[in-house]
Amino acid sequence: MDALLQFLFSGLTVGAVYALVALGFTIIYNASDVVNFAQGEFVMLGGMITVFAFDAGVPLPLAAVVAILVTAAIGVALNKLAIEPARGAPVVSLIIITIGASILIRGATQLVFDKQLHRFPAFSGDDPIRVLGATILPQSLWVIGGALAVFVGLWVFFTRTLTGKAVLATANNRIAAQLVGINTGWIMTLSFGLSAAIGAFAGVLVTPITLVSYDVGVALALKGFAAAMLGGMGNPKGALVGGLLLGCLEAMTAGYVSSQYKEAVAFIVILAVLFVMPRGLFGAKTTERV
């Protein structure tokens, strides 16, 4: 029982990060129908920039803010320079563009910074907290709490503010949104910036636990993509549930079966879900228009 709780804690921590990455996928997908495979690089950038700013003597909170802002700017640049010029391109081309962008970002990071593993101190120390016979790191609480805060914040943004509703309208029907006077180009810019900022925020939260180097983004992008798919692409609630579920599945497999195959089980479950529910757990039912 203690072991189960312990695995659950680590699963929720990792799952919260997956959920944030999946949320980033969802926001961009809704605004532009693009699956942004560079999403994992935003997490990496958040961690890396914070590390180097912190090492240069910037206080940690300020370093984190700088990292999030810089990453958001990179997200906006990605949209302006690579996604908007390719508007209307087939899915394969868009996949290659965003994967290309992720390789580009990785290559640039490796040049600007380095290839080493880095970390910065945890926000509230490294002493584990004992809960019912299991232990949890204070930083894990930060990660889980941070993810929940982002979700609540986004929910308020999407349902209570005019800009948030404009984003939803654009996701629903771009042309109709334009007709009622919504600047959909700006909504896309906003979505990329927001999504990059959320990714960077996840990177800031998780780096003290998992460390960061220039190449951590690929795995995160794949897991986040899988989590978003598991939940149903384009649904924020699906992203949250998919991410947490994926994290817990991995942790349980690593604990009870084999740590080498923890990722395998995640993908097997995703395949199984897609076979039964081809649009994910919370995906909308659609019919093909001829």
Partner: protein
């Protein structure tokens, strides 16, 4: 649009290139690079059938290349099979796997299909990486020499390893290209291209959509598998990277870079992306940067791929 004549022109161009390029090779190293290009082009032609003809996506085809490669590494050692028969065995396993997983997977569309195939590829590469006892784990394993070169030597034909594999891969590529071009104009190929345009429309004129998709998937898996086998045989060594996600991405990029509907374009894309790292070894640090930049720029400015874009420009000038 692509009549019988176009097919023979494509094949002739390909054969001439393969046959004449060695005349200008300054060193034996170029044969190695050439052989690598042909192997990559072969697997990319498989993707031309899947993506270009049938309009389906796969981000996991390196998984089939991995199956082909490790079949050639494992079967001679454990089953006592000749390496060439191992290649056939690998292709058979790949085809069976493709048929098995293709049936449920190919109901999915777009990004959902992408994640399902991606999952398959990752599973294969994970097994190859983790089953150390069998595959040697991430360090890879040696592949036995098929002994064909010494056979030729006994017949009085002395070839270097590079020259030999250049010839073999070139021949296999030609056969692969010929088959793919034949498929293009066959009833099956027409059905695939019809469902690419619209599945509903294709179904209403009597195309068995699921069956044709599966056929394209299985054929492309066999191409990838044979390419993987050839790669293992000519390198004499194989690591799980051959089945990795990045290799899958590389294959799709090659296909789309050259022009995903065309066999010659696939070869061109394979050539460019195989040569790029060789050229960039001088600037090893910038390799990723340049590769990423090339991928993004080509997709933005030449969304149809290099060859069709060039062809269109030439035609435009004629008119």
């Amino acid at each position: 649009m692509m009549a019988g004549r176009g097919k023979w022109i494509s094949l002739a161009v390909l054969a001439l290139l393969i046959g004449l390029l060695p005349l200008v090779f300054p060193s034996g190293y170029y044969f190695r690079v050439g052989a690598l290009i042909f192997v990559n082009a072969l697997s990319v032609i498989g993707l031309v059938i899947l993506i270009g003809y049938a309009g389906q996506i796969s981000l996991g085809h390196a998984g089939f290349a991995g199956i082909g490669a490790y079949a050639c590494a494992l079967a001679p050692e454990h089953l006592g099979l000749h390496p060439l028969l191992s290649l056939v065995l690998g292709a058979g396993i790949s085809a069976a796997m493709a048929a098995l997983i293709g049936k449920p997977i190919l109901r999915l569309k777009g990004y959902y299909l992408a994640v399902a195939t991606l999952g398959f590829g990752i599973l294969v590469s994970m097994i190859l990486t983790n089953e150390r006892a069998l595959t040697g784990g991430p360090d890879g394993m040696n592949v036995a020499d098929p002994g064909l070169r010494s056979l030729l030597r006994d017949m009085g034909w002395r070839l270097s390893g590079g020259e030999f594999w250049y010839g073999i891969s070139g021949l296999v590529l030609l056969v692969g290209a010929w088959l793919a071009l034949n498929l293009f104009d066959s009833p099956s190929g027409r059905a695939m291209r019809a469902l690419h345009g619209s599945e509903v429309a294709a179904a209403t004129v009597g195309v068995d959509v699921a069956r044709q998709k599966l056929r394209a998937f299985v054929i492309s898996a066999v191409y990838a598998s044979v390419a993987g086998s050839l790669l293992a045989l000519q390198n004499g060594y194989i690591t799980p990277d051959v089945a990795g996600f990045l290799h899958s991405v590389e294959m799709v990029t090659m296909a789309v870079l050259g022009g995903v509907g065309s066999v010659l374009g696939a070869t061109l894309g394979a050539a460019i992306l195989t040569l790029l790292p060789q050229v960039l070894t001088v600037f090893a640090e910038y390799e990723q940067l340049v590769l990423g930049l090339v991928m993004v720029l080509v997709m933005i400015f030449l969304p149809q791929g290099l060859l069709p874009s060039i062809a269109r420009r030439l035609k435009g000038r004629d008119a």
